[in-house]
């Protein structure tokens, strides 16, 4: 019996989602009313922006994962990962009196791509996997009194997943393993809400909630590359996958001990346990292709992001940040499809404003998960994983 062994896991899949400025600050910024990324981070902060703004950018990310089997295994296998380039465009227009604001934007809050060798010990679980989710947002924020802002956003997301694994029914004539490839897409509605509180010029705090994406079934095709004798039993078929992407709650603080220095802290809690199963439906079910409901073993996971921004001279800003990203992948459910482990990251960034209406941003980031000894118990597949991720961001703000 064969099922799509899709484990859409979270190691590195959920991105901070903000702009290049936030990327240089460890991804923190939900208590910052600095730029149009508040549309995503905390819509309640939008009315507090000094200027209306259009923010464009992209963050190129490349991850490298390695795996070695249980001792006395000696062979290390590495991924050849594609570069992900989540792009974003945020526009916030705030009222002249800074009483309310409207925003629209697009970003990519979930992204992952991993490519293992075609022949490796885990090939029957995963050879390649990719997930991309693009979100379109419409947001509104309202200032209540002098210090409080509330906001909400509606988002429409389109998610695409592709997955390939080898099938254990022999090799093709050229020696390549049999394989299954599936590609599905779907759309979903989501929502965000935020509260922003700025009692004075130095201190601000925020609480932001993201509903996640409860997709209608992601629908697409499953295709098979199998020996000739098996082909009548593996005809291409339509496949549906029921997969939710999680909700999250973020608490944030920002503090400016002096006018040129700002510190930020974001604590996010992601409800991955709500995505505790994946359902796979084959439109044409056969004895070998069976619908299945797979337990994901996800657990809720925290992340902590801290960042600092320093403006030594008016035209320049320097940034640095650190973050911890907890993995939702439980022991016993660690799959090579999306290697999940707790991650520690460091970031740096800088901005240059040649004129008041223009900001140019650059950010760097590096993350390592450390070594995680993990097993996918159902498949008897275990080993030590490690992932390094590097990110380079470029962005531009137009202030008006």
């Amino acid at each position: 019996m064969f099922t799509a062994t899709v484990f859409v896991q979270a190691g590195g899949i959920q991105l901070p989602g903000g702009g290049v400025r936030q990327a240089g600050m460890g991804g923190a910024g939900a208590a910052f009313a600095r730029d149009a990324a508040t549309l995503w981070l905390n819509p309640g902060a939008m009315p507090f922006l000094r200027r209306s703004q259009l923010s464009l950018g992209g963050i190129g990310m490349q991850s490298h994962s390695a795996w070695i089997g249980l001792p006395p295994a000696v062979d290390v296998y590495r991924t050849q990962n594609a570069t992900r380039s989540p792009l974003h465009a945020f526009g916030v227009w705030r009222s002249p009196g800074r009483r309310w604001a409207l925003g629209a934007g697009i970003n990519q809050p979930f992204s992952q791509s991993v490519q293992w060798p075609e022949v490796w010990p885990g090939m029957f679980i995963s050879q390649s996997a990719a997930l991309r989710s693009h979100s379109l947002h419409l947001a509104a924020g309202l200032r209540i009194g002098q210090h409080i802002g509330i906001g909400a956003a509606l988002m429409r997301a389109t998610t695409a997943i592709s997955y390939q694994n080898a099938l254990d029914i022999g090799t093709l004539d050229n020696g390549v393993p049999s394989s299954m490839f599936l590609q599905v897409r779907g759309s979903a509605w989501g929502a965000r809400a935020g509260i922003f509180y700025q009692p004075n010029e130095r201190l601000s705090t925020g609480l932001s909630w993201n509903s996640g994406l409860a997709h209608a079934p992601l629908r697409g095709n499953a295709e098979f590359n199998v020996p000739l004798s098996w082909q009548p039993f593996f005809a291409p078929t339509v496949i549906e996958i029921h997969q939710a992407l999680p909700a999250s709650l973020t608490f944030a603080l920002a503090y400016a001990p002096q006018p040129s220095l700002r510190l930020a802290l974001d604590l996010r809690y992601t409800y991955w346990a709500g995505s505790d199963s994946i359902v796979v439906d084959y439109l044409t079910e056969t004895h070998l292709l069976q619908d299945a409901e797979k337990e994901t073993g996800f657990r809720n996971a925290p992340s902590l992001r801290v960042g600092a921004e320093w403006q030594p001279i008016p035209a320049w800003m320097l940034r640095a940040g650190l973050y911890f990203e907890g993995t939702p992948v439980s022991d016993g459910f660690v799959s090579p499809a999306f290697p999940g482990a707790n991650g520690l990251g460091a970031t740096a960034g800088l901005s240059f404003s040649p004129v008041e209406t223009l900001n140019l941003h650059l950010s760097f980031g590096a993350e390592t998960t450390g070594e995680r000894l993990g097993a996918l118990l159902e498949r008897g597949f275990a080993g030590t994983y490690q992932t390094h991720t590097f990110a380079l961001g470029l962005g531009i703000d137009l202030n008006f």
Binding site: V74, P121, D168, H287, G380, H388
Partner: protein
């Protein structure tokens, strides 16, 4: 300038980050006290690499050893792992092309019943003419497995003369198997021998008295004699596999007690039991694999096996009493292996017993390892070959891993990487 320096430093840092791929440190490999200068494989069909064999008119295995199968013999796979630590030459006396003949999967078709499961249909590949001609050069080989060899025959010269493989591999100066081993002076031996001493009798339905099971005391005596030759070198070591419960192999356990006809209607199966009476097969009856193609064939008294007047002959069935008898003999063989090993292990472990009985039992329960799944089912399990008694390449890899694990547990310092089972095929399909 200061700003440029900051910018430039950032890019350099970025480049360093980009270069940092994860490094996982593998453990040091080591053979420990195992000396592999002269590593041998000693035994019978399982050692030689027999797979997808055929049956003769007496319902005994023939064929199944051919060039490709020899490459997947478990000692060969064991040697490849050792060869990752030190250069190692390990050669089998090769058979050409189709060797002694074998079965293969010619295609798949949906089963008439049982949810239209794809079922392989099989064809035979004829033996290569001249496959059993004696080799001109019989030295320099390491896999000395002889298909069909029984432990009770290891000291009989006549047995070696009757065995086609022995004649080919050992050359014209035929001697007994034990004497042949005396000439080898191994430093490390992989041994698996004795399965056939009971299994061949069971394969004939406990019917063929000429294949009667070797008694346990004689089994132990011959094993002692054989190991004495393999342990002449005071530093030599042996890994010896014990005997799994072969009554659970697909050859003995695939055919169900109810027969499904072309309309998927089920019918009871009749057979002649050990007492000579006609009995109805039940869940405790072991109908042998050759019966699969014979049940329902026309006889003057009705369809074979489906009529009280045309019961399956005794050679196609083993009833519960016979199974108990055979299982008991397997236990005695395994006790003998332990006893002989203990005599050599007084001061240190020289003979490590590889618990293949437990390893095969894990397969019967269903075994997930390295992302693949195997069980003991015929055709679908991925472990047993088409003859229902020998192993697929993946099954042999599993056996080799069991030997490797035992070496690691028995001798300090042994760190040999295990085989990734997924790299080896189960059954092979066109």
């Amino acid at each position: 300038m200061k700003h440029f320096y900051t910018w430039f430093s950032g890019l350099v840092l970025a480049s360093l980050f980009y270069a940092c791929v994860p490094e996982l440190e593998p453990p040091q490999m080591s053979l420990g006290p195992m000396r592999t200068q002269r590593m041998l494989a000693v035994g019978s069909s399982g050692v030689a690499g027999v797979a997808n064999g055929l049956l003769n008119a007496d319902q005994l295995p023939v064929g199944g050893l051919y060039a490709e199968a020899q490459q997947y013999a478990f000692p060969m796979l064991f040697a490849r792992q050792v060869g990752r630590i030190i250069p190692l030459e390990f050669r089998s006396p090769a058979l050409p092309d189709s060797g002694s003949g074998y079965q293969y999967i010619a295609g798949l078709r949906p089963a008439a019943c049982e949810n239209r499961t794809p079922l392989p249909f099989l064809r035979n590949r004829a033996a290569k003419p001249g496959w059993d001609e004696p080799l001109s050069n019989v030295s320099g080989y390491h896999n000395l497995g002889i298909p069909g060899l029984r432990l009770r025959d290891v000291e009989r010269i006549a047995a070696s003369q009757q065995n086609h493989y022995f004649r080919r591999f050992a050359g014209s100066n035929l001697t007994s198997y034990t004497s042949w081993m005396r000439q080898q002076a191994p430093t490390l031996s992989l041994v698996w021998l004795g399965l056939e001493d009971a299994m061949y009798y069971a394969m004939t339905g406990c019917y063929n008295q000429e294949e009667f099971m070797t008694d346990a005391s004689r089994y132990e005596a011959h094993l002692e004699a054989l190991l004495a030759e393999l342990l002449q070198d005071p530093e030599a070591l042996v890994l010896i596999g014990n005997i799994p419960d072969f009554t659970r192999f697909p050859f003995f356990s695939t055919v169900k007690p109810m027969y499904s006809d072309a309309d998927c209607q089920k019918h009871p199966i009749y057979y002649l039991n050990a007492a000579g009476d006609v009995a109805v097969a039940d869940e405790y009856t072991h109908i042998l694999l050759p019966a699969r193609t014979q049940i329902g064939t026309a006889t003057p008294y009705g369809p074979l096996g489906l009529s009280h007047d045309a019961p399956l002959p005794g050679k196609l069935v083993i009833d519960p009493y016979e199974i108990d008898w055979v299982s008991s003999r397997i236990e005695q063989y395994n006790a003998a292996i332990l006893a002989v090993a203990a005599r050599y292990n007084q001061t240190r472990t020289r003979v490590a017993v590889v618990d293949l009985a437990e390893a095969f039992e894990q397969i019967q329960q269903g075994h997930a390892e390295g992302g693949i799944y195997m069980d003991g089912a015929y055709l679908s399990g991925g472990f047993f070959s088409l003859d229902g008694i020998t192993c697929t390449p993946r099954g042999n890899a599993y056996i080799a891993n069991t030997f490797l694990r035992t070496a690691q547990e028995s001798w300090q310092g042994v760190q040999i990487p295990l085989i990734d089972l997924g790299f080896y095929p189960g059954l092979q399909y066109p």
